[in-house]
């Protein structure tokens, strides 16, 4: 049974780098990980997606280690407006063939 877990919550201060980890069964080499940000009363908003070692866009980076048993969302220099719940979504291919969301991490950014 595919399982995808995240820390329940994290605290940070403005200007710091934040790393949020998603632990999952070891995924195949071409299984994608997607990260979303969700504010109260809104739908999840796309942040970043990838399947390789490192992916970077203008707002975040995604790291997937060689054993592919976890992935990490890295947010550089967070601000108060980054306070939200962050979810990973794992596209398990092969025999599993399921899209499974992580348990979600509430990030609280303080001044």
């Amino acid at each position: 049974l595919a399982k995808t877990t995240q820390p329940i919550s994290m605290d940070s201060y403005e200007g710091q780098e934040v790393n949020i980890t998603c632990s999952h069964n070891n995924i195949a080499t071409n299984d994608y990980i997607t990260w979303y940000q969700q504010f109260p009363s809104q739908g999840p908003r796309f942040i970043i997606q990838g399947y390789k070692t490192k992916v970077t866009n203008e707002v975040a980076s995604l790291f997937i280690p060689a054993d592919r048993k976890s992935s990490t969302l890295s947010l550089p220099r967070v601000s108060l407006s980054d306070t939200a719940v962050y979810y990973c979504l794992v596209a398990y291919g092969g025999a599993t063939n399921k899209l499974i969301f992580g348990t979600g991490t509430l990030l609280a950014v303080q001044p």
């Binding site: 009363s41 809104q42 739908g43 969301f101």
Partner: protein
């Protein structure tokens, strides 16, 4: 580019009543998803369509939930009769092709909030 549209945004009904939610996906997106998100939890996939066909409905409580996607565009999710535990946000989402299985992103609407009293 317009996003995923959903209506109504909020609905309060009594248990045993029925409710329907409507979704209009992003133009050109072949795949449409309905998720249920209970407060404090991650979204759970209820049903996935590719064009008109159902790809995955393994977690849809078929005794009370139904969904259709006529003409491969808009979709409707219905609950009848509703139970207290159906109180949740119902999120519609869409993607190109097979979504993350083919490297495409799933985009979500703002959700329809259901309270069953």
């Amino acid at each position: 580019e317009a996003g995923v549209a959903q209506s109504p945004r909020y609905k309060i009904i009594e248990k045993r009543q029925s409710v329907a939610f409507w979704c209009n996906p992003i133009s050109g997106h072949a795949t449409l998803y309905w998720y249920q998100q209970i407060l404090g939890q991650g979204p759970k996939l209820l049903i996935q369509f590719q064009n008109n066909g159902v790809v995955d409905d393994s977690q849809l409580p078929k005794d009370r939930f139904s969904a259709e996607r006529l003409k491969g565009v808009d979709s409707t999710l219905k609950i009848q009769p509703a139970k207290l535990e159906d109180s949740a946000v119902y999120l519609c989402a869409s993607s190109l092709d097979l979504g993350p299985y083919s490297g495409n992103t799933i985009y979500f609407g703002e959700g329809s909030w259901l309270t069953v009293v």
